[in-house]
Amino acid sequence: MRRADIQDEPATYERLVYKNTSVYHYMRISLVLENESTRLSAAQLKQLIVSGLRDLYGEVGGAFPFDLLKFDESTLTGVLRVYNSGLVKLWSALTLLGFYQNELCFFRVTQVSPFLLTLSGNSRELELD
């Protein structure tokens, strides 16, 4: 029951919309090699990606900063971080990279997201019990 002398205040709320807060993009990648027993260290993987960038985009492209945040040597999966302007260059260089020390290889990109939290799970590996 509403009393007649109490006036309803309009509900006040504030809505903040960010178009894109994240400066970086994060990619989860995995390297698949022809010879499955080859192991790489994190530094060798980064060197491989830099060489791929340098082949495709030259010295200027090879100098673009990106980071390898996590790397699991047993499964050869890792998380890369790159600035937004360099995402297309990095992804295209990963796509066109074909050889590691005369051995066929390719990169599989499983997840790409501007937020790191998204990479913590995906529906492919979801287990419903």
Partner: protein, 158 residues
């Protein structure tokens, strides 16, 4: 109507020895620029810049060269110009560097700029001369590449 726009880079070839300048030809500059763009910007840059790229004009006496490229990626070629260290011609390697003076949309605007630039150079260099003979020498060498004698310029085009 869609118009294909291009940019003309007006560059000056600077060599330490003036005599080597007369050995230049446009194919040497073309290959040197393509190699520099391929080194600086990789396969992507080399392929993108080779579309519509040509050496339009080369003056062997003064070392002025016009490079023509597409408007959408003239910056790739422009940024690769400092990486050119030498020009190769018939087995001889001439160390040089390309100095970009002006970027214009048409050859005519580049030539207008060249006339103004040459008069400025003349005004700058004449007071520094010691003797009258040097002055007349400089005046002659600068006047030989201006737009005044338009017929001569067009004859020197290849």
């Amino acid at each position: 109507m869609v118009r294909l726009k291009s940019r003309y880079l007006l560059c000056e070839v600077c060599v330490s020895d003036r005599r080597n300048l007369s050995l230049l030809d446009d194919r040497a500059i073309y290959t040197a620029t393509k190699a520099a763009v391929a080194r600086a910007h990789g396969d992507y840059g080399a392929a993108l810049s080779s579309l519509g790229f040509s050496v339009k004009y080369l003056n062997a006496h003064t070392g002025i060269v016009f490079l023509r490229c597409r408007k959408s990626h003239y910056r790739l070629i422009w940024s690769a110009l400092p990486f050119i260290t030498s020009l190769e011609n018939r087995g001889q390697r001439v160390p040089c560097f390309l100095n970009c003076l002006h970027v214009g949309g048409t050859i005519r605007t580049c030539q207008k700029f060249l006339v103004r630039y040459n008069t400025q150079q003349l005004h700058r260099m004449l007071p520094l001369c010691q003797s009258e003979a040097e002055r007349s020498e400089i005046r002659k060498s600068v006047l030989s590449c201006t737009l005044k004698k338009e017929a001569d310029d067009e004859e020197e085009d290849e």
